[in-house]
């Protein structure tokens, strides 16, 4: 038996062991006779600090620690999709089979099914030259997604043998002879350390929006494919609903959803709902493109810390195949709290609010794993990884360290607002405080794919909403009567924007997803009313109620019910708007 360390201290998830010469940072170890999974997070001479991913009660000094000489890894290969894992990639259904309803300790189940046979179809032929990242074969993982089998990073040479047929992930499907006569045997299973980002050829500047179908996000505050965004908000403001809506409707090809330290029932909801829901883009079941990582708030805190990395590594793997991947992490605050808890137990010098001083750099490292990249391999394919993290600031106070560190590295900020949520305005994203820094990158996309007019209409809508905030102050003080007709028009338009454009029911099947073109049409209809009305409100005998009573106003208010492919009806609506409003002039 190999040399073992000896435990000298146990304090919650932190275990200190001695006799651990040769141990390396982030090496995985097995703690005590129960073989609990742990990871080395600090070394001092022959003593190491270990964070244990399972409950440590009943473990004591004197018990052994077994080194594994491996870092924390995830298993990558066919079978990831439709899976639901805990924070360290153990499939929850398997845990249930082994241990029943409760998660007990020392369960060792592999991340991927070892027995299942997958149909491997080769793409390259024997004798062809291949380099790292090249796709040598394909597996139909779900009816929606073809899993590409790639040459693992660091290997290249000539294909000596490639098979065709049904194999398990551990069977050899190809043999590569390296340029220096080494032989690489390739299986469909790859492993990758979770704390290291997977390599790519080159990172590019994102310039395509991630279409989410949520109007306020797509039109006002879009995030680019390959970008990073954050959703901070107090409890009850709808972070989770927003994240889930994104996971359901965004146009990424692969979704990785991380429930990090959140409610168990919420995860159950996702687990029960996703297999039923259909993807509006393809009509297939949503689950077929989804990987889930669930480490609920009552599951061990150290595994919560790891869950973010587990998820992002899986996401990067699909990115490397050339897919567009979106990762939702709900919530990164819980991850930061896990860092804080471990840091406290390590007796490190605390930074702000007890969080470790390295919170900022860890947050940055995580979000920087997003991006649109040219993948490894000779075919120059592109993949993207979009990261969207929810943040749960205590008391809704955005000045706290986790929010601030996140804002520093994300370019999109969707600020959720408790006041809007109380008014039952959903999504409760505050249009005044939210922002996106991708507008410049995405300008051309909008121009070329939606309309030349789009940017103008959007800017006008934003300024009307801004204006509303100011006017509301005045109304509160002196009443509606003090406003000029033009100002009243601004208020009415802003109300219409809020109620007919920004308000969106995530639980209504039709309303939950609006395609980009239709978003623009709705917005144009509302702004059209404003622009035409501007021409008449200054008339002396203009009566505001006449405008509100126009039948076309009702039609504009209901224009989101027009089917998404019926541009004609929108055009008719615009004509009618112009005609009937200008008729007030006489």
């Amino acid at each position: 038996m190999e040399k073992q360390g000896i435990i000298i201290k146990v304090s919650g998830p932190l275990v200190v062991a001695k006799n651990m010469e040769g141990a390396r940072m982030y090496e995985v170890v097995r703690v005590s006779e129960k073989k609990l999974i742990g990871e080395i997070i600090g070394i001092n001479g022959d003593q190491v600090s270990i964070q244990v991913y399972e409950e440590t009660s009943g473990v004591g000094p004197g018990e052994p620690v077994y080194p594994t000489h491996q870092t924390m890894q995830v298993e990558l290969g066919p079978g990831l999709l439709q899976s639901i894992y805990d924070g360290i990639q153990r499939p929850l259904p398997l845990i249930e089979q082994e241990a029943g309803s409760y998660i007990t300790r020392g369960i060792d189940v592999p991340g991927l099914d070892r027995k299942k046979k997958w149909k491997f179809s080769p793409i390259k032929k024997t004798g062809e030259k291949v380099e790292e990242g090249d796709i040598i074969g394909e597996v139909e993982e779900t009816t929606l997604i073809t899993h590409k089998i790639m040459v693992p990073p660091g290997m290249s040479g000539t294909l000596k043998d490639i098979k065709n047929g049904d194999f398990t992930i551990e069977e050899i499907v190809a043999v590569i002879e390296g340029d220096n006569d080494e032989t690489y045997e390739i299986t469909m299973l790859q492993k990758w350390p979770i704390r290291r980002s997977r390599p790519c050829k080159v990172k590019k500047v994102p310039n395509v929006p991630l279409v989410t179908g949520t109007r306020i996000l797509d039109t006002l505050f879009p995030v680019a494919k390959g970008g990073a965004g954050c959703i901070p908000g107090p409890f009850g403001a709808g972070k989770t609903v927003t994240q889930q809506t994104l996971a359901k409707y965004c146009d990424a090809q692969i979704i990785v959803y991380i429930g990090c330290g959140e409610r168990g029932n919420e995860m159950t909801d996702v687990l029960m709902e996703f297999p039923e829901l259909e993807d509006p883009n393809t009509g297939e079941k949503l689950m077929k493109r989804t990987v889930m990582v669930a480490n609920t708030s009552n599951m061990p805190v150290a595994a919560r810390e790891a869950s973010i990395y587990t998820g992002v590594t899986i996401a990067e793997y699909y990115r490397d195949m050339g897919y567009s991947v979106a990762l939702m992490a709900d919530s990164t605050s819980r991850w930061a709290e896990a860092l804080r808890e471990m840091s406290g137990r390590l007796e490190e010098m605390p930074g702000e609010e007890g969080y470790p001083a390295y919170l900022g750099s860890r947050t940055a490292e995580f979000y920087e794993r997003s991006g649109i990249v040219k993948c490894l391999g000779s075919d120059d394919r592109e993949g993207s990884l979009t990261l969207i993290g929810a943040v749960s600031p205590p008391g809704g106070d955005l000045s706290e360290p986790v929010t601030q560190n996140t804002l520093r590295v994300t370019k999109v900020f969707w600020g959720l607002d408790a006041k809007l949520a109380y008014r039952r305005h959903f999504p409760a994203i505050n249009w005044l405080s939210s922002y996106t820094l991708y507008m410049d990158n995405l300008k051309d996309y909008w121009k070329n794919n939606i309309s030349e007019e789009f940017l103008g209409v959007r800017t006008q809508a934003m300024s009307i909403l801004q204006e509303e905030a100011k006017l509301e102050e005045i109304v509160r003080l002196v009443g509606m009567e003090a406003l000029s007709p033009k100002e009243r028009l601004t208020l009415e338009t802003a109300k219409s924007l809020r109620e007919d454009f920004l308000f969106q029911n995530a639980f209504d099947k039709v309303d939950a997803f609006t395609p980009l073109k239709k978003q623009f049409w709705i917005l144009k209809s509302i702004i059209g009313v404003y622009n035409h009305a501007l021409k008449v409100v200054e008339n002396e005998d203009f009566n505001f109620d006449d405008l509100l009573k126009l039948p076309v106003m009702q039609k504009v208010a209901k224009c989101k019910e027009i089917p998404a492919d019926d541009e004609e009806r929108f055009k008719q609506l615009w004509d009618e708007t112009e005609r009937s409003i200008l008729s007030l002039k006489i």
């Binding site: 929850l92 259904p93 249930e96 029960m272 609920t296 609010e353 509160r476």
Partner: protein, 472 residues
């Protein structure tokens, strides 16, 4: 073989450090015998080579560095559970205080429990009627939910909790709007009640309330009063939840767990954390407060393949009614909504003083509608919310501008808000309004408003439930 150690090195608050120990385990139970022969329990909080830091569950009064003996029991804290616990009252450590016999355990369970596999959970979706309109109609409770009451000092949360415990039941409604109790099935129902750091009077109120209504037969009570040792408080809710899990998932009962007052529990955690010299988080509470609370709240729920369920109603008092204080804040992040009590309503003599606007039940959508309550439930709920919110805005406006400056519509909303508080929010302590009545009352109130303003309810429901009835 268990050794006895006489090597207690230091004692600080609830923490005892013992030296020269061997073979100890983390979280192992420790029995300390004082010089006068009293036995106290504690658990290992930190196990180092040769040193154990022990956190006592009871007061350290009388424990000394000399003369006291420590024995490590080789097991973690377990609670003996049995069906005989129903109808009994225990202290915060699980010892009977009602002069009854000791419990002969059917099973011994670790009070910390194990995390429930999210995959093994079943989604809570059974409507749970509390008989209180503002909860049933507007912030619907479902079985398996954890819905805390955010209260403040001096507010009647105890009465509300007792009322819920008394009235809560599962009902079913058929298409014609006829109700049946118990969902037509024979249901086993139990209440587990844990009081942490409450005053003697409050504890008495609850026990009397339970005894008076006969509910005690189906209840298990854990009482840790304000003068009981602080550290016991940390074990109290865990005892209660372990009992609840046993009753729910092994004895197929539907268990309602009421925990009061979580603020005292968190204070106890802070006290122990400070004694351990840990780095504090916000307002001196330990950094792991979220995780710790989650291990309590997350023990609510339903499990696939099991008949029973655990519904939790934790009560906490918000210091200075501040909802951003760490305790309500972190609670809100874990629980599935919250019921917020309002001081101004209380001052106006309105009971239950539930402020519906910041209150929320996250699971309501799964528990209402056709087959659960009635088809118009969601519409009525949203309409009441929207109208009351608008009415309150108008009320603010009226303060500035005077009522004379309000439009007719605004005046109607103002009237609605007033009536809503007086007739809908307010109800008697022993008034058990069923859901159909709550909905009907909602429609009655909505009649105050012009029909054109009722945008959240479906036109056919207005026809069916409002206009048609009027015609009669």
């Amino acid at each position: 073989m268990q050794k006895e150690y006489k090597t207690i090195k230091s004692i600080a608050g609830p923490l005892v450090m013992i030296e020269g120990v061997e073979g100890i385990k983390y979280e192992e139970l420790v029995e300390i015998t004082t010089a006068s022969g009293e036995v106290r329990l504690g658990k290992v909080l930190e196990a180092r080579e040769g040193v154990a830091v022990v956190q006592m569950f009871e007061s350290t009064q009388g424990v000394g560095a000399h003369g006291s003996k420590a024995r490590f029991l080789g097991k973690t804290l377990q609670l003996g559970v049995s069906l005989d616990m129903l109808g009994r009252i225990f202290d915060g450590r699980g010892r009977p205080i009602d002069d009854g016999a000791e419990i002969i355990p059917d099973k011994k369970l670790d009070i910390n429990g194990n995390p429930l596999n999210p995959y093994a959970r079943d989604y809570p979706n059974d409507f749970y009627q509390t008989g209180i309109s503002t909860i049933d109609c507007m912030n619907t409770l479902v079985r398996g939910q954890k819905l805390p009451i955010f209260s403040g000092a001096g507010l009647p949360h105890a009465r509300l909790a007792a009322q819920i415990a008394r009235q809560a039941k599962v009902i079913s409604v058929d298409n014609e709007g006829n109700m049946a109790e118990g969902g037509g099935k024979e249901e086993n129902f139990a209440v587990v009640f844990a009081a942490m750091g409450v005053t003697f009077e409050e504890a008495e109120y609850f026990t009397n309330e339970f005894k008076k209504t006969g509910a005690i037969e189906r209840s298990v009570l854990y009482i840790n009063t304000a003068d009981d040792p602080v550290v016991e408080r940390i074990a109290t809710p865990r005892m209660a939840l372990t009992t609840a899990e046993y009753l729910a998932f092994e004895k197929d009962m539907h268990v309602l767990v009421i925990l009061t007052d979580l603020t005292n529990y968190c204070e106890a955690l802070r006290e122990v954390s400070a004694a351990r010299k840990e780095v504090p988080g916000r307002r001196g509470y330990p950094g792991y407060l979220y995780t710790d609370l989650a291990t309590l709240y997350e023990r609510a729920g339903r499990v696939k393949g099991k008949k029973g369920s655990i519904t939790q109603i934790p009560i906490l008092t918000m210091p200075e009614d501040d909802i951003t204080h760490p305790i309500p804040d972190l609670t809100g992040y874990i629980t599935e909504g919250q019921i917020v009590l309002a001081r101004d309503l209380h001052k106006q003599g309105i009971y239950p003083n539930i402020n519906v606007l910041p209150s929320l039940s996250r699971l309501k959508d799964k528990g209402i509608g056709v087959g659960k309550t009635r088809e118009d439930h969601s519409g009525v709920m949203n309409q009441l919310f929207a109208a009351y919110a608008r009415g309150k805005e108008v009320r603010e406006l009226a303060v500035i501008l005077g009522e004379a400056a309000l439009s007719d519509t605004d005046l109607k909303f103002l009237k609605f808000a007033n009536e809503f508080e007086k007739t809908y929010v307010k109800q008697e302590e022993y008034e058990d309004r069923n859901i159909i009545k709550s909905l009907t009352m909602g429609w009655e109130l909505l009649k105050i408003l012009p029909e054109t303003e009722l945008k959240r309810v479906k036109a056919e429901h207005i026809e069916k439930y409002m206009t048609a009835k009027q015609a009669k």
